[in-house]
Amino acid sequence: MRIKHFKLTVFLCVCMITSFSVLQAQEIQITGKVTSLEDEMPMPGVSILVVGKNKGTNTDFNGDYSIEAEKGDVLQFSYIGFSDQKITIGDNTVINIQLVESVEALNEVVVTALGISRKEQALGYAISKVDGEELAEIKSINAVNSLAGKVAGVDIAQPNTGSGGSSKIIIRGNTKFNGSNQPLYVIDGVPMDNNSFGQAGQYGGQDLGDGISSVNSDDIETISVLKGPAAAALYGSRGGNGVILITTKSFKKNSKSKFNINFSTNSTFDEVISGYEDVQHVYGQGIGTPPRDIGDATGMWSWGGKMDPNLQFISFDGQYRDYGVKKDNIESFFRTGYTIQNTISLSGGNESANLLFSASDVKMEDIVPNSGLHRNNFTLKGYMKMWEKLTLDAKVNFTLEDVDNRPYLGYSGANTALALLGLPGNIDQQWLRDSATDANGDYVFWNSATRIINPYYSLYNMKNESKKNRVLGYASLNYNITDWLDFKFKSGIDTFTYDYYNYSPRTTPLAEWGELTKIDSRTTEINTEFLFSANKELNDNWTIGASLGGNIMNYESSTNTILGKNQGSEDVISINNYNEFIVGRQNPRKEVRSFYGFANVSFKDYAFLDVTGRQDWSSTLKKGNNGYFYPSFTGALVLTKAIESLRSKMISYAKLRASYAEVGGDTDPYAYNTFFDYPYSSNGANFSTVNDITYFTNINPSRTKGYEFGLDAKLFNWRVGLDVTYYNQTTYDEIMNIPISNSNGFESASINAGEINNKGWEVMVNIVPIKTEDLRWDLTFNFANNENKIVKLHEEAKTQTIARADWISSLITAEEGGSYGDIVGYDFKRTEDGTPIMGPNGLPLRSDEQVSLGNGQYKFTGGITNGIQYKGFRLRALIQIKSGADILSMTNQKLYQQGAHIGTLEGREGWALSESQRESAGELPSNWVATGGYLAQGVIEDGVGADGSPNYRPNDVYVDPKDYWGSIANSHIIKPFIYDASYVKLREVSLSYSLGPEQLKNIKFLNGLTFSIIGRNLWLIHSNVPNVDPESTYNISNGQGYEYGSLPQRRSYGFNLTAKF
């Protein structure tokens, strides 16, 4: 505890010193512009490296750069296809550079682990970079969602979870059953806690958001994605799933003034594209006939008569209305949502001391009425040279986020979509608005499934709100001990509070006496680290570098949950207004101590070898067995430099890379204790019970081992870029909970188990088909495939359950020998050759066992970006492709059962005719052979053959389609509702116009102006899933592949304006 306070104090002091001592600073800020010698055009994205120091930057869109350096330092300018230039800093602080096109160089600088800038050509592993400007142009409320389709091998799911929802990123497949498979997020070198605050499960719930969703996209300078264990080895266990490094913007000197103002405004409108193309508009509410009494009227069945405006029916609110089709009866529920994001940033200073302040405001009103988000971000980032050898930089960021009425998802009775989907075509959703409550304000039942709540009631009478306040910051001291040795000390903090309440008034179904859930949560993670780095150019051929560092990670979270039941005054929504309470508290704590070192050697600037090693001790493992060491080795060889003769017109550049790495892993806090706890007491007696998980006595740290090979090539005179990676990684001995025989008193055991292998290819291709002075066409393809195999589980448990939907007898599992994420459930009973078997009554039979019917993980992901630039105009379009996953659409299951699905039309005419024939013949159903109706494809058992095996005849028994689909639903046959979830989407389109230097020459205060028209999710080009978006999962859990009661697809469009002063 004391250590933590100390750390916090140090952090705050350092912060204050930076903020107040700006004026004393005295380092040189070098600025300038980089242009191409050939056409004198500004060159964006040129990397600038201070030679011998781990420091670098890139030029901005206008070719401008600024970097702090000392007099005598050497700046190295590099750009793909251009020769490097080195300039020694003299008295001039403005250094303009003209680069010469060349086949010599490929020296892009990227930020790697621990924030160290490296030349890309020296790296032995794959790293991908996305420019912040690209993310800021077509903003997503959740900045990382904008990565979708842009980086090979990064699979981004955007679950359909409404305002402030989480996003799910998987890099190179799933490796864990219990823990998160999401990457580690590191913002300016500070790891960010990205735990989800809550997710919908099989019985519904809400997505309460995650950490990363609140980052302001305008603040992002670049995002680097470190994909494999090699890239992540220095971040420890948490980096095992890959690392997403976010670097935020800093002060940049521009050519016109010392004081910069950047302003950006973005407005988009969201609208429902509609979803319900595959809903029938022929038959209305009822069973057989239009509703004749209240009982019929509250049954949400679309098995009634043909809709006809001349007929009358009684509706759930007791009124008589016409039985005609009501146009847009569901779609009219949704409104046009909008999002407005404004960011202003002010920065100024000089080479020795500078500050950047940015403030942003995001307001979003969802398409679901009465639901929205409001967020503010404030950032202060500064740098200063305190004295000759000591520099300090620090940042503090505040985020305040407020989300109103996060939607209930999936199975939740208050899920608006669940209530609206399958609303019979003769009912207009607007009638629900007028009859949500009675004169006393009490809930009015409208649906015989009492659980399904009137959506107007759930949105306007029930309430939920979450408030998140977050502070993320760091202070870093850099001491230049000698010309070849640096010492860095950095302390970073990520701390936030999360307050949430969820209110159900009295008379709400399933909470009849009124309930209020309140969550107050506080989480703090502090990372304190030091690093010695040495770099020495031994001679013209050899350069060596070595670093040694350590880190202490301290995590504590504290959550109090109170469920208040039995509301007092009906007008007060406050936890003290309840008569009963159920109180829960969680207080996980964790500390990890680490030492790490790395060394690199390079020969003649074409052969590179890196070695890293890290030793961690985790508080979550048992003393004596809580330390683990893991190494990595990476190498790169620039073939075209090593063997000059390889270079030709066709092959401009080629680099091979290879790496091997291991990452160790720990487990969650308190996994080792047998504890006794029960939240309740009654009649004066306190209760305790033993926890239901036991652990094995010898748990070892888990381990991931992986290798990758890659080829980087530039072909056809640099017009074509190719980057191919093959990776293969295996996770061993995950610490996981396996179900065990309950008869030893526990439900599961914590155990080392499993061997999961992921391997695949990642390919990125850049082509510049046209490049003239005014016109440039860029075409980028990226695609990746991942093959997952559960090599081994545990002798006790050959199958591990990842997610469940018990109400429909389905599981998502991983089975030994199979792959992660199988969707398991009942199929039709089938003959040996696979034909479905019907019972003698023509209704389907269910398979004896639950079988795997699909897999919810995408095997193939990719994207195609087209960029066309003509003078100041730029058109960019991104098409995203995903395939190889399946989804169980329980929405469609429900639509079939209720008779709302277009597929339920088959056989209705025939059945009606058969029934009228029967009635005119005066026969009872049991004596009548139907002459028409639904005829399921399949066979019926028909006697027994000579060998005792059954004979079959083709199914010839017509049934009522209602009975057929009802029978499928009741027997939990899910096979018909498993769809191929592959899709092709037009994800992003933008058309922008930027004022170039020519136009701005005469406008003194303006440095840049860009106006864009933008659109996101404009067109679902290809999908196999009826009625819902194939991306509509209801959570971000490991168990993907379920969809239920999803909100409809939406698209957004609007404009973006960025101005620099």
């Binding site: 039941k565 019970t689 025989s741 309950n742 030893n744 008193g745 055991a749 448990a797």
Partner: protein, 554 residues
């Protein structure tokens, strides 16, 4: 040079830190929960959860035990046992919660053993452990006993299975030893059953011994007699104050929060707003046809005023908005009934009346009450659906019935003949309904005359006695299922033509619950020899039952 020294100091000081790197003190100890087993709180919890755990009471007790014996019917969840619908996920609840309770008690015993002052906790934990194991083995048959409970810490994931006969033999030993261990001079706190009254615990232990001895009459009559006589001699319950019951807490039922154990679990099921439960005609008819005063003490007709009838919730007896209309309904329709066995409420029996799907109406307080299909059957009286309704683990009435049977079998004369014990049992049961459960007394019927008639008019006295067990066990449904199999009363007509019926039963009635999937998957080697010819079949009798047809109306 100076720099190098500084560097050296830094390096050395960093390296000294590493020596203590793997010691984290108590960071990995959860401050919100205890790591010490406290026998008192563990026992209090088990006493409550045994009958208070909503999920177990719902999915095992109500959905199977009470439903197979045709005590109750409902709209979906509870009629699994009425139609013999196989649902392993429901059936495993009791296995899970019981082994957890056994684990709790094992920890309590281990802790109490080490301190002579805690001897009463040890004894009480042993008694409760027998009671829980008995319900478990009666329900599932052979199971892990000697190696079970809280032993996974020894990395034993595969507890061996024991034969029911060995398990029962150990029950007698355990109960005998525990009763002898109880010490009046030592403390017993947090006791929600007898408030620390050690003498009553002794009687309870002996009464349980009597119950389990009687269970053996079909497989080992002499053992049954020996153990029963010894138990009675050691002293069994003598009045309703001796009855084993637990006090429950009161709270608002909802789906939110953890699985709730504080309240009466069976009441929680009835209060649960989506659940609709009515009485089954098989059970009701025995009371009604014998003019039993308990019928109207335990059950009534409830429905909602017409304007509230849009929601079924409003017609449930447990809901305040419902109206009791027993008298009005009787006056209008002439008879009050339970729901016919073998059907869900949304189905209609073959001989259902013509108006089965239409509502019926009566007037009450000048307003129209609408009785929809689901509510044309008797429901449990509102008073008896309250959340803090005590649960009876063994009634004095039950003990009197055992004494009646022992007397009838001529084992010995314990203070009266079979008829006296029989009548005592019924008086005690009526008394327990009022005194313990808080039912309103029914003064219309003279119980002395009624009991006299009932005894005299029943030719088979064994039937007379065991039908009283059946009536009595509405508030101990697990015992009801066991005693039906043991005694063959009541004779139940099997459900055969329902679409949900498990056809593997072949026209008979389930006699146990199948083993949970966790046992099939994770302890199969040990389980294999105890399956019914390799099949996890719920039609197979347990050891003491040994019959496929006892109690079945063929």
């Amino acid at each position: 040079m100076k720099t190098s020294i500084k560097l050296l100091i830094l390096l050395v000081s960093t390296l000294t830190l590493t020596t203590s790197c793997e010691d984290f003190n108590d960071i990995n100890v959860d401050p919100t929960t205890s790591t010490i087993a406290n026998p008192k709180t563990l026992i209090s919890k088990v006493q409550t959860s045994y009958s208070g755990d909503r999920e177990t009471q719902w999915r095992s007790l109500a959905a199977y035990h009470m439903s197979i014996t045709q005590m109750i019917s409902d709209g979906w969840t509870v009629s699994h046992g009425q139609t013999y619908k196989l649902d392993i996920s429901y059936m495993e609840y009791m296995w899970k919660s019981s082994y957890r309770e056994i684990s709790d008690l094992t920890y309590a015993i281990e802790e109490a053993e080490q301190n002579p002052e805690l001897v009463n906790y040890e004894a009480v934990a042993r008694i409760l452990k027998v009671m829980i194991f008995a319900q478990l083995t009666d329900t599932y048959g052979d199971l892990p006993y000697f190696e079970a409970g809280a032993q996974a810490e020894d990395d034993n994931l595969h507890p061996a299975y024991d034969n029911q006969e060995d398990i029962y033999n150990d029950f007698f030993k355990e109960l005998k030893e525990a009763a002898a261990q109880l010490d009046d001079s030592k403390a017993l706190e947090g006791d929600l059953m007898y408030n620390g009254d050690v003498e009553r615990w002794r009687k309870f232990a002996n009464s349980l011994r009597l119950r389990y001895a009687m269970r053996l009459v079909n497989v080992n009559l002499s053992k049954a007699e020996t153990e029963a006589v010894l138990a009675i001699e050691d002293g069994v319950m003598e009045n309703i104050d001796d009855a084993a019951k637990v006090e429950h807490g009161d709270f608002t039922v909802s789906t939110s929060g953890a699985s709730e154990i504080r309240g009466n679990g069976f009441s929680q099921v009835q209060n649960f707003s989506e659940e609709i439960m009515v009485a089954c005609e098989t059970y009701i008819s025995y009371l009604r046809d014998n003019d039993d005063p308990r019928l109207l003490m335990m059950f009534g007709m409830y429905a909602a005023y017409q304007e509230d009838a849009t929601s079924r919730y409003n017609s449930k007896s447990s809901t305040e908005t419902s109206v009791e209309i027993t008298d009005e309904y009787l006056a209008t329709y002439g008879v009050i009934e339970g729901y016919p066995p073998g059907y869900f409420l949304f189905e209609a029996a073959e001989d259902a009346p013509a108006d089965v799907w239409s509502p019926r109406f009566v007037e009450k307080n000048g307003r129209t009450v609408q009785i929809d299909k689901y509510f044309k059957s008797l429901q449990v009286k509102r008073d008896l659906t309250r959340i803090d309704l005590p649960s009876i683990y063994q009634s004095y009435s039950e003990v009197e019935l055992w004494l009646a049977e022992a007397a009838l079998r001529g084992w010995s004369n314990f203070g009266g003949d079979a008829k006296t014990h029989y009548k005592n049992a019924i008086f005690a049961n009526i008394d327990e309904l009022v005194t313990i459960l808080g039912a309103e007394p029914n003064l219309d019927i003279n119980s002395d005359v009624y009991t006299e008639n009932l005894w005299n008019n029943t030719a088979d006295k064994m039937e007379a006695i065991n039908m009283q067990h059946y009536v009595n066990n509405f508030y101990n449904g697990i015992e009801g299922f066991a005693n039906w199999r043991r005694s063959g009363f009541p004779v139940l007509k099997p459900t055969t033509d329902n679409a949900y019926t498990d056809q593997a039963l072949n026209g008979l009635i389930p006699r146990k619950l199948p083993y949970p999937n966790t046992e099939m998957n994770f302890n199969r080697d040990n389980l294999e020899a105890h399956l019914d010819n390799g099949v996890n079949f719920w039609g197979a009798p347990v050891w003491w039952d040994n019959s496929l047809t006892r109690g079945v109306d063929l």
